[in-house]
């Protein structure tokens, strides 16, 4: 066997005990897929089970650890059902337990020793996340450099289990157990991204009202598919409102639309949530050959998802990343290849182009024995028949995946879903820094549009005297200026951390169709910002509509900075030729810092914008509609074409019919 040259800070959690998670030969979930994966990794020389620098040993989770995510009566029931019953009376009682706790149907039958096996799986994810977070439960490492940064646990990812019920092939929810234990042991914020084709309902339920865990699930819509939940409007509850994100994609989505969705959503979500670690679930039942679902991806789309997860972890979480397995029911053609990609990406190794012949010879017969069943499954699910050959390369061959007939309308519907999600959960200043791909690109930069009559100076500046010292106001700040400035600690409403806010400001400054106006001290600390950007996707089709967003550092409140900065930013030649709007969303408001309630804050915003001629309008814009405290303000320029004005007001109260798109 060749020497493994893996990145020493990546580990794989594997234990033969996990292979006993076996519901019988007729069940779609077979531990053989893990065997095939491990075999593929070893045959390719990507991983060794004996390698101390690549294997992270697991241990069973204790009942106490499990009880952080499961009710104790459920754990007790699982333990009871793990041992065979003896008497007749006992078996009736067991039947009752099975019905009550979700073991009565064919999906998740009770298994002998299941408590033990599932506790091992839950323990694997728990060890993985704790090790990455540097917590004692993850084991001791001789130095900080030894501590793993990325961990992959292919046996984990059982995301359907509820706190008090088994569901959808899942008994203990290893993800919830791991996250709940880390929340208890540290102050970390955790981002969970679920790429499985089924909605990650168990994890979402577990943290539905917890603002420290953001759950993001990309899945095939629940209109028909199990578990039926995962609508865009499931946003979390109480303090956790806005921390559950769901992206229901259309059946037959395919790679391009999928990649577009993840790329336009995940980065803004990560930057606005600022997590300490990313946990991803790489269920590969999204693949076109999967017998249970319809998303119709190929390994190209799955590779994009894995690469993006890795990149996000390095950009925003100092590399802390835990990847888990999950669904994936084309057991031998898809799962081993897809999850080898996860490991290869994580350990910075390149995959060979072709699958090793020895491996293909070993696993092709295993697949052949179930080939007919798979073909029947494809047909009853209403999908085009999959090619009847066993893959020989890591990547899929495009000719095996004929284009779906409704590709255009499907990607259009997905784009609509994504923009709705962006509206609902991504703060506007973050959204402006990550523009969605637009069908029409602006012909000229915003600077030219707003200086129709031509202006000699590239950017104006002005000094504002405040009781706390002088501030320099400057519009159309170039990136070179923003780079030299630092961000005041009090400026955190949108990106939540000053350094992130700085990154954000930089990316806004770099965009030609955005205008950034800053207030900074002579020493170079940014105390406030006004951004001006074209209206986002919801306003598509309307000309000359721009969104204004304002933020003033909490250290500079009460000096009229906001009012002066806004007035300065809006001293534009073209002011009367455009429509400006601003949205106040109550969940971004620093009401605690100001000691105001939402309605007083709302009034404050209304008065601030009214000073520049903004008027409040009722609207069906999805963001604003969420909360009665939210506010929508607009200023229609006097020279705006009457046709555009009436379009704008019609649009304000329009009801986008998602079903029609």
């Amino acid at each position: 066997m060749s020497e493994v040259k893996a990145n020493s800070r990546a580990r794989l959690v594997y234990d033969p005990a996990e292979l006993d998670y076996n519901f019988g030969p007729e069940h779609p979930l077979q531990p053989g897929r893990i065997n095939a994966l491990i075999d593929l990794l070893e045959t390719c020389g990507l991983w060794r089970r004996t390698g101390e620098d690549s294997l992270l040993p697991l241990r069973a989770a204790t009942v106490e650890e499990l009880s952080q995510a499961h009710t104790s009566d459920y754990i007790a029931a699982v333990q009871t059902l793990s041992t065979p019953g003896s008497s007749k009376a006992e078996s009736d009682e067991r039947q009752l337990l099975a019905i009550k706790y979700g073991f009565a149907d064919g999906d998740t039958p009770a298994l002998p020793r299941m408590h033990d096996v599932c506790a091992h799986i839950a323990g694997g994810s728990l060890v993985a996340l704790s090790a990455v977070m540097g917590l004692p439960a993850g084991g001791a490492f001789s130095s900080e450099d030894e501590r793993p940064l990325h961990v992959f646990h292919p046996g984990g990812g059982l995301h359907h289990a509820w706190a008090e019920r088994a569901s959808g092939f899942c008994i203990y929810n290893d993800i919830s157990v791991a996250i709940a234990n880390v929340l208890r042991a540290s102050e970390a914020k955790i981002l969970y991204i679920d790429f499985d084709a089924h909605h990650g309902d168990g994890v979402q339920r577990a943290f539905y009202d917890d603002p420290r865990v953001m759950t993001v699930s990309l899945h095939e819509t629940g209109r028909y598919l199990f578990p039926g939940t995962g609508d865009v409007l499931e946003l979390g509850n109480g303090l956790g409102r806005g921390y559950s994100v769901n992206v229901p994609l259309e059946p037959f989505t395919e790679d391009d639309s999928y990649t577009e969705a993840i790329e336009s959503l995940l980065s803004p979500l990560v930057i606005s949530f600022a997590p300490d670690v990313i946990v991803t679930q790489h269920g590969c039942d999204t693949h076109a050959w999967d017998p249970l679902t319809h998303l119709s991806l190929t390994l190209r789309g799955i590779q994009a998802q894995i690469t993006l997860a890795h990149q996000l972890a390095h950009t925003y979480c100092q590399g802390r990343w835990v990847a888990l397995g999950g669904g994936g029911y084309d057991l031998y053609r898809v799962v081993p290849r897809a999850w080898s990609m996860v490991w290869a990406e994580m350990s910075d190794q390149a995959l060979p182009e072709h699958l090793p012949d020895a491996w293909v010879e070993r696993w092709r017969p295993v697949w052949s024995s179930v080939e007919d069943q798979e073909a029947a499954a494809q047909q009853v699910m209403g999908k085009a028949p999959a090619p009847t050959n066993f893959p020989t390369s890591f990547q899929d061959r495009p000719e095996d995946f004929p284009a779906q007939p409704r590709r255009w309308s499907i990607s259009r519907a997905n784009r609509h879903t994504v923009s709705l999600v962006r509206h609902l959960v991504v703060p506007s200043s973050v959204r402006q820094a990550f523009p969605a791909a637009r069908s029409q690109s602006p012909l000229a930069g915003l600077f030219d549009l707003l200086h129709l009559r031509g202006s000699a100076t590239p950017s104006r500046s002005k000094t504002l005297e405040t009781p706390a010292g002088a501030l320099l106001l400057r519009d159309f700040c170039p990136p070179s200026l923003v780079e030299r400035l630092t961000v005041d600690e009090g400026l955190h409403a949108f990106a939540r951390l000053p350094e992130r806010e700085h990154q954000l400001l930089l990316s806004i400054a770099r965009r030609p169709d955005c205008a950034l106006t800053l207030a900074h001290t002579p020493a170079g600390r940014i105390a406030g910002e006004v951004t001006l950007a074209p209206g986002d996707e919801w306003w598509e089709g309307l000309e000359n509509v721009y969104e204004v967003a304002i933020e003033v550092s909490s250290n500079w409140r009460g000096f009229g900075v906001g009012r002066n900065l806004l007035a300065f930013a809006l001293e534009l030649d073209a002011l009367e030729d455009i429509i400006l709007y601003a949205m106040g969303l109550s969940w971004h408001w620093d009401t605690e810092g100001l000691g105001l309630n939402f309605y007083r804050y709302r009034e404050l915003i209304a008065r601030l914008f009214a000073s520049q001629g903004f008027v409040e309008y009722p609207t069906t814009e999805p963001n604003v509609k969420m909360e009665p405290a939210n506010i929508f303000l607009a200023r229609v320029g006097k020279r705006v074409d009457q046709r555009v004005v009436s379009q704008f007001f019609n649009h304000l109260l329009s009801t986008p019919n998602l079903a029609q798109l």
């Binding site: 779609p28 028909y224 578990p227 699910m381 798109l661």
Partner: protein, 252 residues
């Protein structure tokens, strides 16, 4: 389905002598819009073995809505010079509440309750049981008292609807056409589901045309429908699962 199955029984109530400010605080704290007004009445019952038991029963006096409080508040600001020198916060619930004469009993059907709510334009109905009293007194209505046992609101009805659609249980959805209202395919499907140990979360035979169902929508508690779908095809039962890609798709 009857009212007692879906009504709210954990009630927050006020007494007629509470102040409006107390009521307004409760409404704000719990974020709802209706407060039943009750007077706690103690009854003494004589049991068989000469034991006496004392029970405190909430007797319904009326209903106070957030609208009543708004009304009191706005009247308070308009009529500053008349007899009502008292600010609205200090006025008593008794002055502003309704008698809530439209009531239902726990055994009223949900359909009847829904009809009353819609016809009368109400949002909320108190659910009462009439108890006979031993001695007649002033508050009694013909020797009976209306004991408040619950409250049924439009939200309760909506939740009952969602629950009866099986929406709170994980499951997938299958649509079966019923040509000419023939229920045989549905019956066969249910038999197959029971044979394959697939739980049925809900069955809706709709839409109706001239009283005949055209299609049945069945919610099944499984992530793995393939065995069932194979059996359905073998039995030549048509079904719709997910949006099948059709050639002549035109709804864009």
């Amino acid at each position: 389905m009857i009212v007692s199955e879906i009504m709210t029984t954990k009630l927050v109530t006020v007494t007629p002598d509470d102040t409006l400010s107390h009521a307004a605080n409760l409404l704000r704290q719990y974020q709802f819009h209706h407060l039943p007004v009750v007077r706690a009445t103690t009854t003494v019952e004589t049991l068989k073995s000469d034991q006496k038991s004392r029970k405190t029963l909430p007797v319904l006096e009326g209903l106070l809505t957030s609208q009543d409080i708004n009304m009191a508040a706005s009247l308070g600001t308009w009529s500053s010079s008349d007899l009502l020198h008292q600010p609205w916060q200090e006025r008593r619930v008794l002055e502003m509440m309704h008698r809530a004469t439209v009531r239902v009993s726990p055994t009223t059907s949900v359909a009847a309750a829904a009809q009353i709510l819609v016809e009368r334009g109400l949002n909320c109905l108190p659910v009462v049981e009439y108890e006979r009293t031993g001695q007649a007194s002033q508050e009694d209505e013909g020797g009976t008292r209306a004991v408040l046992v619950g409250l049924i609101t439009r939200s309760d009805l909506l939740m009952a609807l969602a629950r009866s659609l099986g929406a709170f249980e994980p499951g997938m959805q299958l649509t079966i056409p019923l040509p000419m209202g023939d229920l045989t395919p549905l019956a066969q499907l249910l038999l197959l589901a029971s044979e394959l140990r697939i739980q049925v979360r809900s069955v809706i035979a709709a839409p109706l045309q001239a009283g005949i169902p055209l299609a049945a929508t069945v919610r099944l508690g499984t992530i793995h429908p393939t065995p069932l779908l194979v059996r359905l095809q073998e039995a030549h039962i048509q079904y719709t699962f997910a949006d099948l890609p059709g050639e002549g798709d035109s709804h864009v």
